[in-house]
Amino acid sequence: MYLDFEKPIEDLDAKIAELKAASSGTGAGPDPQIEKLEQERSRVLKDLYSKLTPWQTVQVARHPERPLLRDFIAGLCSEFIELHGDRHFADDQGIIGGFATIESHRLMLIGHQKGRTVEENLRCNFGMARPEGYRKALRLMRLAEKFRLPVVTFIDTPGAYPGADAEERGQAEAIARNLLEMAALRTPILVVVTGEGGSGGAVGIGMGDVILMLSNAVYSVISPEGCASILWRDGTKAPEAANALKITARSLLDLKVIDEIIPEPAGGAHRDPQGTMEAVKKALMKHLRRFQGLSSKKLAARRMEKFAAMGRYR
């Protein structure tokens, strides 16, 4: 699948395929024309992705083939034992979590789960968690604290589920409670924004000691569409809103909201999931090692200070 702005790549791919089809079965060696086109393709791809607009970045972050939580789990973890339920109401599938092993590190992995098929998305509600999802996440974080395991969260959600049942069971309280408890949690919390960081639903598991972000992920207080329809009174002005909202990894690093950008392979994470896994693993390893053996009380105090400094302009 090609995104709108990938038309030049689509054209090149078509040409390459055409030439390959024509030359197949001729028994000739490598076609220099194809090689030239392929070089051209990787140059154009790199160029396109080096100057994505914020709105194009949104499209990449939401790309249907972009690696999802389960791909990260499969690609990063030698073991993952999912733990279910919030012990109060249900086992939300919009947020899942469990014990995980990455290289030699045992940890608690928690993240938003999106699906690819309709059935999957019905089950995990497109990654829009209900209160019980946030409460399950908190239960697992408490467990991690108890057994001195670091917490790693993966963020990829359009937002917390805006449904009547979610309101009834206290969506606001569930997110607020997580923030209160994460502030004081006595174990390291590493956050990776992998796709869409959708507002309160994202930050509800996003209060970490270190916040990493894939280079084509986005993180925002409101979706560009939502912002456009409120401030521009026109949902089609989403590209303008995406610009104004400063939602790209680069902007967030400048605003000191995130700590580090994890570069994606050329052409985006969806073109090279394996390369993406390696980049994420490398970054995680670095920070997991950094936090080993740190005093957990000091850690929580530093986490609070870190967030206290955000938006302090005096």
Binding site: P162, G163, A164, A176, L179, I230, L245, L255, M304, A308
Partner: protein, 278 residues
């Protein structure tokens, strides 16, 4: 400050009538202005609690002459250099500051409630819909720090439509920031009361409003995470009238007390006596 210095824009009655009567925005009943003011802007017909300015609220809750504002000079910032179809956020801040006389959507200070020392943060809906932005978060964080330092109870009166879009991700980060402030109070066993007035929604409901030791709401106040329209579009159903009201929240276990305006101060005093060492 007079209880009713503003003129209602939505009142559509002839001038002479407007001087004597107020039209309740909820039930549309005409009420004598004097009665409305004596009732603290609460409708005697339908118990609608009209939104108050932060100064009216401080007059209502804090012993006369004891309020001292802190961090008054923290003003709204423009970290994104935001602009929309109608102009820049920077200009809009200037306008709003002039119009309201406020520097941010919250006023913080210390004072006494029937003699008990407290630290108070009061949000004001007139300032960008009481939205949570960097200045708001910083003032709340600093007020909580003041409460922590002086070991005095902290009270926030919420009135907010949520995070302020024009400050983007920075406004979103005020949710964890303010919750960190409350977490520090909690660790030090300093009481923190959240008073939810109309409206308490979005990023404010999903942060400091909902992590109080005690949750108090004004009658009929709108309290919730997502907006009604968004929910109705999502579930493709019409929501009942009482959805996301203070009464609904209490029924579902998220509010300790619903307290009419007239009884708010005395109720706070009674509660504080249980939470503050004499």
């Amino acid at each position: 400050m007079g209880w009713f210095t503003r003129k209602r824009k939505d009142a559509e009655q002839p001038e002479t009538k407007e001087e004597v009567f107020i039209q309740c925005p909820a039930c549309k009943a005409h009420i004598y202005k004097a009665e409305w003011e004596k009732n603290l802007e609460v409708c005697s017909h339908c118990n609608h609690h009209e939104r108050m300015t932060c100064w009216e609220r401080i007059d209502l809750l804090i012993d006369r002459g004891t309020f001292r504002e802190i961090n008054r000079r923290v003003t709204a910032s423009d970290p994104l250099k935001f602009a929309d179809a109608k102009g820049t956020y920077g200009e809009k801040i200037k306008e709003t500051r002039q119009k309201t006389g406020l520097n941010e959507s919250v006023v913080t200070g210390r004072g006494r409630i029937n003699g008990i020392r407290v630290v108070l943060a009061v949000m004001d809906f007139r300032f960008f819909g009481g939205s949570l932005a960097s200045g708001t978060g910083e003032k709340i964080y600093q007020a909580a720090a003041y409460a922590l330092k002086h070991r005095q109870p902290f009270i926030i009166v919420c009135a907010s439509g949520g995070a302020r879009m024009q400050e983007g991700i920075v406004s979103l980060m005020q949710m964890p920031k303010t919750c960190a402030a409350i977490a520090r109070l909690q660790q030090a066993r300093i009481p923190y009361f959240s008073i939810m007035t109309d409206p308490t929604t979005g990023g404010v409901s999903a942060s400091y409003a909902m992590v109080g030791d005690i949750h108090i709401a004004e009658p009929k106040a709108l309290i919730g995470f997502a907006g009604r329209r968004v929910i109705e579009e999502t579930i493709k159903q019409k929501l009942p009238d009482d959805f996301q009201t203070a009464e609904y929240l209490m029924e579902h276990g998220f509010v300790d007390l619903i307290v009419p305006r007239k009884e708010m101060k005395d109720t706070l005093h009674k509660l504080l006596k249980y939470c503050v060492a004499a």
